[in-house]
């Protein structure tokens, strides 16, 4: 589990990093290293060069403009979770990060690395999906904004083109009356979840659910928006029965596969359970 040979560069500006990556298709960006370094240690990859992004100024900024929370790609999990801006404007993200990995990993891992790595069980991806986030990328051709729905293409694959970097994630600030919930299940705390769910919605004056958003993690090959349970919930007053109905269609909508950790049926059932628990949390309904 020793790393293969590679050259190392730590440019201080974004353009420099992008041109290094563009010049050598076998070069890879290095952010927190929490996913990339294990890949190298297992010798599942052998990049010719690692382009370390940590010396690039301002890539880790967290700011709020026009009711949008913008988090720089190099912001570490720990910094995001501790940010007062995130605390105020995105409690859901903060709650989700508390389930990401362990303390040590959260001190190194970055949100840009997580998005680019695109693990199907990454909490951040589900939050981004459920919150209609935008990913800001920059490559040799310049900057572009990618809607999160178009970003994740499958397990460990994204819409990023070669030499294109994630530079920030933008999330609409959460209205203070937004109802939200997060639930996930991992055999050990800090492990990638076997299944999880992110939900949020508003209540209209009559107390009915409006604009429900649900995203599932872990159960499928990529983080997914689950539209069927959203349809079940829309316009309904929260009740245990309606939550259960939503969870049941979430189970049906989840396309899980058998793997080492569990059967497809177990994964699907877990996905439904997590949707139920996240919804119950959002509605402050106690499950029997």
């Amino acid at each position: 589990m020793k790393l293969p040979d590679f050259t190392y560069a730590a440019p201080t500006d974004l353009r420099g990093a992008i041109s290094l990556l563009a010049a050598d298709p076998a070069a890879r960006a290095l952010a927190g290293g929490q996913s990339l370094i294990p890949v190298l240690a297992f010798r599942l990859g052998a990049p010719s060069m690692l382009v370390d992004l940590s010396n690039i100024a301002d890539l880790d900024k967290i700011e709020v403009n026009n009711a949008r929370l913008r988090i720089g790609a190099m912001a570490r999990w720990a910094a995001v979770a501790e940010s007062p801006l995130v605390h105020t404007h995105h409690p859901l993200l903060r709650a989700a990060i508390s389930h990401v990995a362990h303390y040590q990993v959260r001190n190194r891992g970055t949100i840009g690395g997580s998005l680019a790595h695109a693990d199907p069980a990454a909490e951040l991806a589900a939050v981004a999906l459920a919150c209609d986030a935008t990913i800001i990328a920059q490559g040799p051709q310049g900057q572009r904004r990618i809607a999160v729905a178009d970003f994740f293409c499958g397990a460990l694959t994204t819409a990023l083109t070669p030499a294109e970097l994630v530079i920030a994630l933008e999330l609409p600030c959460m209205p203070t009356d937004l109802r939200w919930g997060f639930a996930e299940f991992a055999r050990r705390r800090g492990d990638f979840a076997l299944a999880g769910a992110v939900v949020h919605f508003s209540l209209d004056a009559a107390g009915a659910i409006i604009n429900p958003h649900i995203a599932g993690i872990g159960a499928s090959d990529r983080p997914r928006r689950l539209t069927a349970p959203e349809t079940v919930l829309a316009g309904q007053a929260p009740s245990l029965a309606i939550l259960r109905a939503a969870a049941d269609v979430a189970t049906a909508e989840t396309d899980a596969a058998d793997d080492l950790h569990g059967s497809a049926a177990y994964r699907r059932s877990l996905a439904g359970t997590m949707v139920l628990r996240a919804l119950a949390d959002a509605c402050a309904i106690t499950l029997p």
């Binding site: 589990m1 020793k2 790393l3 293969p4 040979d5 297992f42 010798r43 299940f185 055999r187 177990y266 059932s269 877990l270 359970t273 499950l287 029997p288």
Partner: protein, 627 residues
């Protein structure tokens, strides 16, 4: 003399050093001149090696040597059983490196020795390896069906059947109630914080080998290595250093325990190998994969009359040095602390294409304790009897001891439970957990958790023979050095053995130093396994302490002009009847080193009870332990 230290809750003396990062583990040993070894392991569970070409890898700059079965000379040595050896198991011993066939993922095929571990790993990718796959035997059913044989010459994948017998379990039991079921326990493995590691140095001029990283049973390892390398036992020193976890897994003789010293001698260069986490999971002993069908036969009043049935052990690919222990124990210790007059349990041991197994924390007992206690719960339900009442009724009482337990077929050795008050531990356990308060929660669903409450009783064997050895030396500084064959695997050995030594000599612990586990300290020693290090090492120290005190008395008597038995020993002092006093330090030159030996062929049986209160989240399957 002060109150005895044994029995007092004192802080472990080794902890400060270990917690402050001052421990010395194998990889901490400075060896700037050492080459790094890395092992090419089989990527397939079962197959025939059709091509192994190391030429390209050999040419990589920094690569010093690539060792294969051919370098060692075929047939390569195999690893003998350290415990409970039998001639019929010899064919299933693991060769130190694969020759023409691989039998599990992780089996060593070649070892690259290079100037750094990273270069050696680069070279792994350049070794051209082709394996013609054979069907992989994964489960016991696969093994029995024998679509492929791991050892074609043996004609079967059944390696051995151990039988445990007591009384006559085959007889009819008229009017009895039979409770039976299928059970299984899944594979476990020890994942020590520090992986295994070895550093071997060959001194060509002296013909002497030094191996750092020995643990658990260094003298046995030395004996095996000497035989495999054709060396005299005393030309090898096995040096024990700190270890980051043992659990029964560490310190047994593995292929690397041959390969690394072999490479050091072959190349006449120090060679270091540090196991990485992936190879740890693939190659260090696994454990506990058993299934069983068992019948418990009881009288309607709830007296256990007999047990009979069959267990199966998924052994993995080879019979490793201590692999016979768990399957033997599953059969022999089913009865646990209970009176079961008639026993007939067979354990079939199947070879499969998985990592070989060995001992791991109460080998065989964990498995069989679960089978038995679950059967007892089923029986209680069937009889409409309270679970605790049924257990208490069948526990062996002190008055019934010594009490024989089943004898295992081979090697045969009668065993009996020596002493104890089993009911007392059960009662104390129930009291401690608040059994009466918890009972009503059983089967309830509260906050989405289904509550379960259970209790089980067990025994745990210890004090494996044949002996342990120690030596005490009084120094001119008044310190006593304690040398002992027990080895430290994280169990707090230094503290407990110094407590025993200090009490035996009437000295404060600060006046003692302990040296353990390396073959350089004693000509012969055994080590730490089978709950033996304190009983055996501690008693060897007690015996040595008696000898040392006699020698001190004799020397003091000469110095103080009195008979040795008139000398009164204090904490580091000796006084004659008229009050003349001499310090031990002044006598050091006249006090020879005191050897101590403790021979034992009778196992001890510790005992206890466990109770648990758990909650099961049935929607996720998660089990939470409340108490």
């Amino acid at each position: 003399m002060n109150a005895p230290l044994v029995g007092q809750p004192i802080e472990r003396i080794e902890d400060l050093r270990l917690l402050r990062g001052a421990g010395c583990f194998t990889d901490d040993i400075a060896a700037p001149d050492a080459l790094a070894a890395v092992i090419l392991r089989s990527p397939l569970a079962h197959g025939l090696i059709t091509r192994l070409d190391t030429e390209a890898a050999q040419k990589l700059p920094g690569v010093v040597s690539i060792i294969t079965a051919r370098t060692i000379g075929m047939p390569v040595p195999t690893i003998p059983l350290r415990l409970a050896p039998l001639a019929e198991l010899v064919p299933y011993e693991q060769p130190v490196i694969a020759q023409d066939r691989v039998r599990y993922v992780g089996e060593p095929i070649a070892m690259v020795v290079a100037t750094s571990a990273a270069i050696a790993e680069d070279a792994l990718d350049l070794i051209e390896l082709e394996i013609a796959p054979l069907p992989a035997i994964v489960t016991n059913d696969d093994a029995a069906a024998a679509a492929a044989l791991l050892f074609p010459d043996s004609g079967s994948n059944l390696c051995i059947t151990y039988t445990a017998r007591l009384g006559d379990a085959a007889q009819e039991f008229p009017g009895a109630i039979i409770v039976e079921d299928d059970f299984s326990t899944q594979r476990h493995t020890a994942a020590t914080m520090e992986t295994r590691g070895l550093l071997a140095r060959w001194d060509a001029a002296r013909g002497h080998l030094t191996v750092h990283g020995a643990a658990k049973a260094p003298w046995a390892g030395r004996r095996m290595l000497a035989r495999q390398l054709g060396l005299d036992e005393f030309s090898i020193d096995m040096i024990a250093v700190d270890v980051g976890g043992g659990f029964g897994m560490r310190g047994e003789f593995y292929p690397e325990d041959f390969l690394v010293p072999f490479a050091a001698r072959h190349l006449d260069r120090p060679v270091k190998w540090i196991e990485d986490r992936r190879e740890h999971l693939l190659s260090a002993n696994h454990a506990r994969e058993f299934d069983a069908h068992l019948q418990l036969i009881l009288s309607p009043a709830g007296d256990i009359l007999a047990v009979r049935g069959r267990a199966r052990c998924n052994l993995g690919a080879y019979m490793r040095a201590n692999a016979s222990i768990a399957p033997r124990n599953v059969a022999q210790f089913f009865s646990g602390p209970y009176r079961i007059p008639n026993i007939a349990i067979d354990t079939d041991v199947f070879l499969t294409n998985k990592t070989p197994t060995g001992t791991y924390r109460g080998p065989g007992r964990f498995e069989t304790d679960f089978f038995r206690e679950r059967l007892l719960d089923l029986a209680a339900e069937r009889l409409g009897m309270d679970r605790v009442v049924l257990r208490r009724r069948n526990l062996i009482t002190s008055a019934q001891m010594p009490h024989p337990i089943a004898t295992v077929s081979a090697p045969v050795k009668a065993e009996e439970l020596d002493s104890g008050d089993y009911a007392e531990t059960l009662d104390r356990c129930l009291g401690a957990i608040g059994w009466d308060r918890l009972q009503p929660l059983r089967g309830q669903r509260i906050n989405g958790r289904h509550h379960g409450v259970a209790v089980g009783c067990f025994i745990e064997g210890g004090a494996a023979g044949p002996s342990e050895h120690a030596r005490l030396e009084l120094g001119a500084d008044g310190m006593v050095d304690v040398f002992v064959g027990s080895s430290m695997v994280g169990q707090g050995l230094e503290t407990v053995l110094l407590q025993i030594s200090a009490d035996a000599l009437g000295l404060p612990m600060e006046r003692l130093r302990i040296f353990h586990g390396s073959t350089t300290y004693l000509r012969i020693g055994f080590g730490s396994f089978h709950s033996r290090s304190t009983v055996m090492g501690g008693t060897a120290i007690l015996n040595a302490a008696t000898t040392l005190k006699e020698a001190i008395r004799a020397a003091a008597g000469r110095r103080l002009n009195c008979a040795p038995d008139e000398v009164l020993l204090g904490a580091g002092t000796a006084t004659n009847p008229s009050g003349a006093i001499v310090n031990w330090a002044e006598l050091a030159a006249d006090v020879p080193a005191a050897p101590g030996q403790f021979d034992n062929h009778t196992h001890t049986y510790a005992y206890g009870a466990h109770a648990a209160h758990v909650g099961v989240d049935i929607a996720t399957g998660h089990v939470e332990i409340f108490d």
